[in-house]
C-alpha cells in the first residue's frame, strides 16, 4: 500500500525526497484511520440517538458537574485553561462557576444574566443582548444534549466505539456570524461529555464535563449571584 502511495505522490510532486514521502504517507494513513474511527451515522442510528438523548433530557431535572474549559486561539502557544462547577435546574436555570484561575460566576435565570466577578456583582449588558440570551438557551439545551431543532440547526451525526458526536451548524446567518458550529459529544448513555463551540475564525472553546451528578436536589440558593 505504502509503495503504491509513494509512486502516486511522486508522480504528483516529482521533487519530494523519499524520507519526506514516507512521512507524508504515514500521516495520510494515520489520518484516514482516524477518519474511519468516527463514522457518519445512518438515519436510523441518528434517530435512535435523538430519541435516547431526548428521553434522558426529559428525565433530567438537575445536573451538577465539574468542568474544564480550554480556549483555543490559533496564534497562542497554549490553550487557556479554566475550570469550575456547572449547575443546571430544569427548565432553564444555569450557573457556571469558575474557580480557577479566577473566581467568576454567571447565572442565567428569569431571563436575566447575573454576574459575580470576584465579588463585584452586576448584570451583564452585552450579555443581556438577544444574541447572548439565545446562546444561553442553547447552552442550557446543550448541557442536556436536547438541541435537535431542525429549524435552527443543520446536523451531522457521527459515532465510534466510545462516543457519539453531533455537529450542529446554526441556520440563522446572524447567529452563525457568532458561533459557526457546536460539536457535542455524548457517551453511550446519552449524557453530554464535551461541548465545543467553534467561532467563524476557527478558534474554539472546548468544555469537558466530569463527575456529573444527575437529579440531586439543587435549591434556588445554588443559583444565587
Amino acid at each position: 500500500m505504502f509503495s503504491t502511495m509513494i509512486k502516486k505522490i511522486k508522480w504528483i510532486i516529482p521533487n519530494t525526497s523519499k524520507k519526506g514521502l514516507v512521512l507524508l504517507c504515514a500521516s495520510l494513513a494515520l489520518w484516514s484511520n482516524l477518519a474511519e474511527a468516527q463514522t457518519e451515522m445512518n438515519s436510523t442510528q441518528s434517530e435512535a440517538l435523538k430519541a435516547k438523548v431526548k428521553k434522558l433530557a426529559d428525565a433530567t431535572q438537575t445536573i451538577s458537574s465539574d468542568f474544564t474549559q480550554f480556549k483555543h486561539i490559533d496564534f497562542l502557544s497554549n490553550d487557556i485553561e479554566s475550570s469550575g462547577v456547572l449547575k443546571f435546574k430544569a427548565p432553564d436555570m444555569v450557573k457556571w462557576q469558575y474557580t480557577k484561575p479566577y473566581n467568576y460566576s454567571i447565572v442565567f435565570k428569569d431571563r436575566t444574566i447575573f454576574i459575580n466577578d470576584d465579588g463585584n456583582k452586576s448584570n451583564l449588558d452585552v450579555g443581556g443582548s438577544k444574541l447572548f440570551e439565545r446562546l444561553n438557551r442553547l447552552i442550557a439545551s446543550s448541557i442536556r444534549g436536547d438541541m435537535f431543532d431542525e429549524e435552527e440547526f443543520s446536523m451531522k451525526f457521527f459515532t465510534d466505539t466510545e462516543s457519539d458526536l453531533v455537529h450542529f451548524s446554526p441556520k440563522d446567518p446572524q447567529f452563525s456570524e457568532f458561533i459557526n458550529a457546536f460539536h457535542i459529544r455524548f457517551d453511550k448513555k446519552g449524557e453530554v461529555v464535551q461541548v465545543k463551540m467553534i467561532e467563524p475564525s476557527g478558534d474554539f472553546t472546548r468544555i469537558e464535563f466530569h463527575n456529573r451528578k444527575t437529579n440531586e436536589a439543587l435549591s434556588n440558593a445554588d443559583f444565587s449571584q
Binding site: 497562542l76 502557544s77 454576574i115 452585552v126 446562546l135 457568532f178 475564525s201 472553546t205
Partner: protein, 205 residues
C-alpha cells in the same frame, strides 16, 4: 481689574504649561533620545499574555479576558473574549497599520473602535518616536509621539510606570503599570480623565 488681568495671565502661563514643566521635570539637552525599547511589557514573542479584564464604560461593566501576543517584529494581536470564550473583539496592530479582524456587532461603533485603537496602540508599542527627554532626580520622562498625539513615558529608576497622553499639558489618558517583574506587568490600569472609561487588566497566574 489689574488683579483680574494678572490672574488671567497666571492661568495662561501655568494653565497651559507643558506636562513635564507642571511636574517639575527638566529637559535633558545632552542626552541623545534613546532608540531602545521603551515598553518591554509585551515584547516577548514566545509568551502568551493573558489578563483578566474589566472594562467600565459609562457605568456599563464588561468582564472578560484580554489576550495579547507579539506576532512579528512590529506586530501585535489583541483579542478580548468573554470568560466563556466568545470573542468580543480581535485587533491587529502593525507598525503603521491597524486591522479589525472581528468585532461583535453590538460593539462595532467607530468612536469606540478609535478609543480602543489609541489606548491599545499605546499599550503595546515598544519603540515610539522619541521627541524629548526630561529628568527629575531618579525619574525620567520621555516625550513621544503615538498616532500624532503626545505621550509621556514615565520611568521610576528603570521601570516604566506610566504612559500618559496629554492635551494642552493636561492628562487625558493614563496607562499605569504595577506588580512589575522581569519585563512583565502583573497589573495594568488604563484610565480616561475626560470620559468615564477605565480598563483594568490583571495577569492570570
Amino acid at each position: 481689574m489689574r488683579i483680574f488681568l494678572s490672574s488671567i495671565c497666571f492661568l495662561l502661563i501655568f494653565g497651559c504649561a507643558s506636562y513635564p514643566k507642571k511636574n517639575n521635570f527638566k529637559v535633558v539637552t545632552k542626552e541623545t533620545p534613546p532608540q531602545n525599547v521603551l515598553n518591554p511589557y509585551f515584547s516577548n514573542p514566545d509568551k502568551d499574555y493573558v489578563y483578566k479584564a474589566n472594562i467600565d464604560a459609562l457605568g456599563n461593566k464588561i468582564g472578560g479576558l484580554f489576550i495579547i501576543k507579539k506576532l512579528g517584529e512590529k506586530t501585535h494581536r489583541i483579542l478580548f473574549t468573554t470568560e466563556m470564550g466568545n470573542t468580543l473583539f480581535d485587533f491587529s496592530f502593525q507598525q503603521n497599520g491597524f486591522t479589525v479582524n472581528r468585532i461583535l456587532k453590538e460593539l462595532d461603533k467607530k468612536i469606540l473602535i478609535n478609543i480602543l485603537k489609541r489606548d491599545l496602540k499605546a499599550l503595546v508599542l515598544e519603540k515610539p518616536a522619541v521627541e524629548q527627554v526630561f529628568s527629575k532626580t531618579n525619574n525620567r520622562l520621555i516625550e513621544t509621539n503615538i498616532l500624532s498625539k503626545k505621550h509621556y513615558f514615565y520611568f521610576d529608576s528603570e521601570d516604566l510606570k506610566d504612559i500618559v497622553r496629554t492635551r494642552n499639558g493636561k492628562v487625558i489618558v493614563k496607562h499605569h503599570f504595577a506588580n512589575i517583574e522581569n519585563d512583565f506587568a502583573g497589573q495594568i490600569n488604563i484610565t480616561h480623565e475626560n470620559i468615564q472609561l477605565k480598563i483594568t487588566l490583571t495577569a492570570l497566574p
